[in-house]
């Protein structure tokens, strides 16, 4: 069943939803990355909640004009207008008053959403009987998706991607270093507003599939996921698009494969699964990598300290050190050094002495800063330098055999 869904064999509606969700995921992931890099991820929460009054007002206007209130294009236009108004209010609150951005986000989010709910209850009592679709915008509803709806989502998503492509350089610059961008003469506030406008576009496009409460997840989670895998912004953008698109596709497929699996929440949960996978498995930034790095570091410290102890003829009691030395073939089970062990220990002690000279010499100041107790001196000094240091140290001075 799930295989059928993944290969788009589950009928017309499921195929439409899967394609729409994939496109939405890609554009949300790509757009959300800039928002995340700008450290304003939660602005999307305010924008998405601010769409509700617009949807309701558009519905009322459409009905008043005698049309079918559920015209998707009309509803989306309404939602875009009210989201834009919300965005401008939020911008005004943060720039012109003493409120911090988080308070402005929360205020816009709750007030616009509350007003939207007031309008929603008015619509419910209008007696037009066709309002059932509007609640679908809260959590998305893909059941009755039409070809025209899918086309709107596809065109909207493609347009957003195109705009991101055009604006990617200024947006990256503003995200990483707003002061420098300002010094270069870029209009920061306008670029910020453009970034938010793109987020708004994604939100509006995504209303039908995932709904306004969960679209935030599609904007934030893929970007955070992608950030684990790369340090280069263009790679992060592409990876976020990939993660978002995959989550949309797989989520839509899973939700089509069984009843009672709403599309929006499933897409979000698939996206979260990618996030958890990345959190643990990503190279460098992942938790697993960090644990491995820690263990490797621990092993090096223990072996180094063990070798120094061997060289100075001290007995080793620390069980982990003993075990590591034994496994490396440096000591025998009774704790006495093997021949390799003696050689390595002698080298470790001599290196320590060499470092001592280096650190005592002003001329080697830059090199001395690299000393961390474990670095092999050969990696930072030339053979000639080491030979010179060895000349200063001289021969063996009564080191115990």
């Amino acid at each position: 069943m799930i295989w059928d869904a993944l290969t788009l064999q589950l009928g017309y509606n499921a195929t439409l939803v899967a394609i729409g969700a994939t496109l939405l995921g890609v554009s949300a992931g790509v757009t959300g990355t800039f928002l995340f890099l700008r450290k304003r991820a939660l602005v999307s929460d305010a924008i998405s909640h601010a769409t509700l009054p617009g949807v309701c007002l558009a519905f009322m206007v459409l009905v008043a004009l005698g049309g079918d209130g559920r015209n998707l294009l009309g509803l989306l236009a309404g939602s875009a207008i009210s989201a834009w108004v919300g965005l401008l209010c939020m911008n005004w609150l943060t720039r012109r008053t003493r409120l911090a951005e988080d308070a402005a986000i929360g205020a816009i989010l709750s007030v616009f959403f509350g007003f939207g709910i007031v309008l929603l209850t008015i619509i419910q009592t209008m007696g037009v009987g066709r309002q059932a679709g509007l609640e679908g915008f809260l959590l998305g509803s893909t059941a009755g998706m039409l070809w025209a709806d899918a086309m709107i989502i596809a065109i909207g998503g493609a347009a957003t991607l195109l705009l991101v492509l055009i604006l990617r350089r200024p947006m990256t610059l503003v995200a990483f270093d707003p002061e420098y961008a300002a010094a270069r003469g870029l209009p920061i506030h306008r670029i910020d507003l453009a970034m938010m406008g793109l987020v708004m576009a994604v939100t509006v496009v995504g209303l039908k599939i995932v709904g306004l409460i969960l679209i935030v997840a599609l904007l934030i989670i893929p970007a955070v996921t992608a950030r684990f895998w790369s340090e280069r912004s263009e790679h992060v953008v592409l990876l976020a698009g990939l993660a978002g698109g995959l989550a949309g596709y797989i989520g839509a497929a899973i939700s089509a494969s069984a009843p009672n699996l709403p599309t929006g929440p499933i897409i979000v949960l698939v996206s979260f699964a990618f996030f958890v996978l990345s959190l643990f498995c990503a190279p460098k930034r992942g938790v697993l990598a960090a644990v491995l790095r820690h263990l490797r570091f621990q092993r090096r410290v223990h072996i180094r300290q063990g070798l120094l102890a061997l060289a100075q003829g001290q007995k080793i009691y620390e069980p982990l050190t003993l075990r590591l030395l034994r496994r490396a073939g440096l000591v025998r089970p009774d704790g006495v050094a093997t021949d390799t062990g003696k050689a390595r220990a002698g080298k470790a002690l001599r290196d320590e002495k060499r470092w001592e000279i280096v650190r005592g010499d002003q001329a080697h100041e830059a090199t001395a800063a690299l000393y961390d107790g474990m670095r092999d001196i050969e990696t930072v000094m030339t053979h000639d330098q080491i030979a010179e240091i060895d000349r200063q140290i001289g021969g063996p001075q009564g080191v115990p055999a």
């Binding site: 995340f36 450290k39 304003r40 991820a41 939660l42 999307s44 929460d45 005004w92 609150l93 012109r96 008053t97 003493r98 409120l99 911090a100 988080d102 308070a103 986000i105 929360g106 205020a107 989010l109 709750s110 007030v111 616009f112 959403f113 509350g114 007003f115 939207g116 709910i117 007031v118 929603l120 209850t121 008015i122 009592t125 609640e135 809260l138 959590l139 409460i213 969960l214 935030v216 997840a217 934030i220 989670i221 970007a223 955070v224 950030r227 684990f228 009672n260 699996l261 709403p262 929006g264 929440p265 499933i266 979000v268 949960l269 979260f272 996030f275 959190l279 930034r285 938790v287």
Partner: protein, 309 residues
């Protein structure tokens, strides 16, 4: 409007709405000043999976398990946000966004998967509550306020939210000095021996309790609005914390009362026949108050910024 009509139908929802608004606005003052205003947003989203899980475990809509479930979910969310922030080195806002949307999605999925057709449990209810339904059927007029038998029929939400309000007030009163000092100057607070970490956690937990109790009565949209709008509006009027809190209580009460009245009677005045959502109207009113304060408040600008009046 006579007492026979007002007391049974409107008195209790008004009181519950007002108490909930004040209980949220009190900790909201500190959250807004500490730039943690969105905690309320996160909590009110994660409450949904909490109550659904509680419902699945107990199989019934009963208050205490659900409150516990909601509180548990709030704690899980706080721990998860902190874990993701530290393990993944992600900025707090994004970590919050990841956690609360995921938990909300899980809540919606659980709700869809379980058969809740026999009970009143759905996403809309969680979002905007049902303030209008908390009526006091046993009351016959103002005299019922002295009638023990009728008082026993008060909706249980009223006593719960009143208790919560008392608890929140006592917390604010007891920890007034440390809260005030650590909010404005955390470093100084630490040097005089205030355990700022524990205090911050206590504040978040208090906020969570207020949010869960208010949520139970009035839905989550009021919770977010009341955490932020009245304190933010009060912030525009004064530079003194005491005055700010007093103003925020005034604004919370004003939005609750005016919102409820407008929702219940406004449509009638305009010639309509049905009331609109009280929760939504209260949030809208608080927004209007905030807008007025942001435009005309004497302390609306940042210090150092020139006012463009």
């Amino acid at each position: 409007m006579s007492g026979e009509e007002f007391v049974p139908l409107s008195l209790t929802p008004l009181l519950i709405g007002t108490f909930a608004a004040i209980a949220c606005a009190l900790p909201g003052n500190f959250l807004v000043l500490r730039k943690q205003a969105l905690i309320g947003d996160a909590i009110s989203h994660v409450v949904l999976p909490g109550i659904v899980v509680a419902f699945l475990l107990t199989g019934a809509i009963s208050t205490w398990p659900m409150m516990l479930g909601a509180a548990g979910a709030a704690i899980v969310a706080v721990v998860l946000i902190e874990a993701i922030r530290r393990l993944g080195q992600i900025e707090p806002g994004a970590a919050m966004g990841v956690v609360f949307t995921t938990m909300f999605a899980a809540g919606v999925l659980l709700l869809e998967q379980t058969d809740t057709s026999t009970v009143h449990l759905d996403v809309e209810h969680a979002l905007y509550g049902n303030l209008e339904s908390l009526i006091w059927l046993d009351a016959t007029g103002w005299g019922s306020l002295l009638d023990v038998e009728a008082l026993a029929g008060l909706p249980p939400e009223l006593s719960r939210i009143a208790l919560t309000l008392v608890g929140v007030s006592v917390f604010t009163w007891l920890f007034w000095r440390p809260l005030k000092i650590s909010t404005f100057d955390e470093g100084f607070a630490r040097t005089i021996g205030i355990r700022t970490g524990a205090l911050g956690m206590a504040l978040v937990i208090t906020a969570a309790i207020a949010a869960v109790a208010a949520f139970d009565a009035v839905g989550s949209i009021i919770v977010i609005a009341m955490f932020i709008c009245p304190p933010a509006a009060a912030r525009m009027l004064t530079n003194r914390l005491e005055a700010q809190i007093a103003w925020s209580i005034v604004f919370a009460t004003a939005s609750a009362v005016s919102g409820y009245v407008l929702a219940g009677y406004g449509p009638l005045w305009l010639g309509g026949s049905d009331a609109v959502s009280a929760a939504g109207m209260i949030a809208t009113m608080s927004g209007l108050i905030l807008a007025a304060a942001a435009m005309f408040g004497p302390c609306r600008a940042r210090i150092g910024a020139h006012t463009s009046a």
